[in-house]
């Protein structure tokens, strides 16, 4: 009877050890691969992004023609900044939640200019952050430069 308990204990120990090993390795191996070896850009935005016009007034909408490629369906967070070229100063910032679908797409978007900005040459730049297999990845973008002026 004592011998049976020993066998049972050994069996349970074997189950626990292998279950733990398989769980840990099964969880860690893909993550180590994605963190160490995988350099794939799962989401890509072609830069510089073309802008419709070269001249804008404060409060105008800047129409941009964006081309993007995605290898996965995912959600992402995009942070976009309006930058004054002369001083490299960030004038405005906006954060957006994005739903990204697989495929290559041309998108036309209107990005609003603040009403209280100075005249000068500006561009938009930003980062889109998304998650692949529990790991955070990011892609950057920037638009062509355009001029903001109060004159018509």
């Amino acid at each position: 009877m004592k011998c049976d308990f020993v066998k049972l204990g050994e069996r349970i120990l074997g189950i626990l050890v292998f279950a733990t090993a398989f769980s840990v390795l099964g969880y860690m191996i893909p993550r180590i691969y994605f963190a160490t070896f995988d350099k794939t850009a799962y989401y890509f935005i072609k830069s510089p992004i073309a802008v419709e016009q070269k001249l804008y007034k404060p409060c105008d909408d800047v129409l941009v023609h964006l081309y993007r490629e995605s290898l996965i369906n995912t959600t992402a967070v995009g942070v976009k900044e309006l930058v004054l070229v002369k001083s490299n100063e960030e004038v405005a910032r906006e954060k957006d939640d994005l739903a990204i679908t697989v495929g290559n797409t041309n998108i036309d978007i209107k990005w609003a200019l603040p009403c209280n900005i100075d005249e000068g040459e500006y561009y938009f730049r930003g980062v889109v952050t998304y998650t692949v297999n529990g790991l955070e990845k990011s892609t950057t973008f920037e638009t062509e430069k355009f001029t903001v002026t109060n004159f018509n």
Binding site: R11, G14, I15, F18, A19, T20, F22, G26, F34
Partner: protein, 88 residues
Amino acid sequence: MTTDKIILSIISFAVGILIGYIIRSSMSRDLNANDNKTLVLLLVSVAWFVSVIVEIVNPVYHTNPMIHGLMGSIVGFFYKFEMKPKKK
């Protein structure tokens, strides 16, 4: 979607039982108990390895850690027999 998954799981389970029964019927004459356990051990190990590879190839796919644990439990259960010295 959930209904589809349940039906697919039931069909997979039934097909698995059928395949297992056929393999056992055809190989039972040639294999002893230890060989059968080794076969199960290898099949589950290969299935686990494939699930890890699929998770790498398809970054959207994610195997539940409980499934990894379940496969490890089966391998651990049978591996114990292989560790014992054979009596002659």
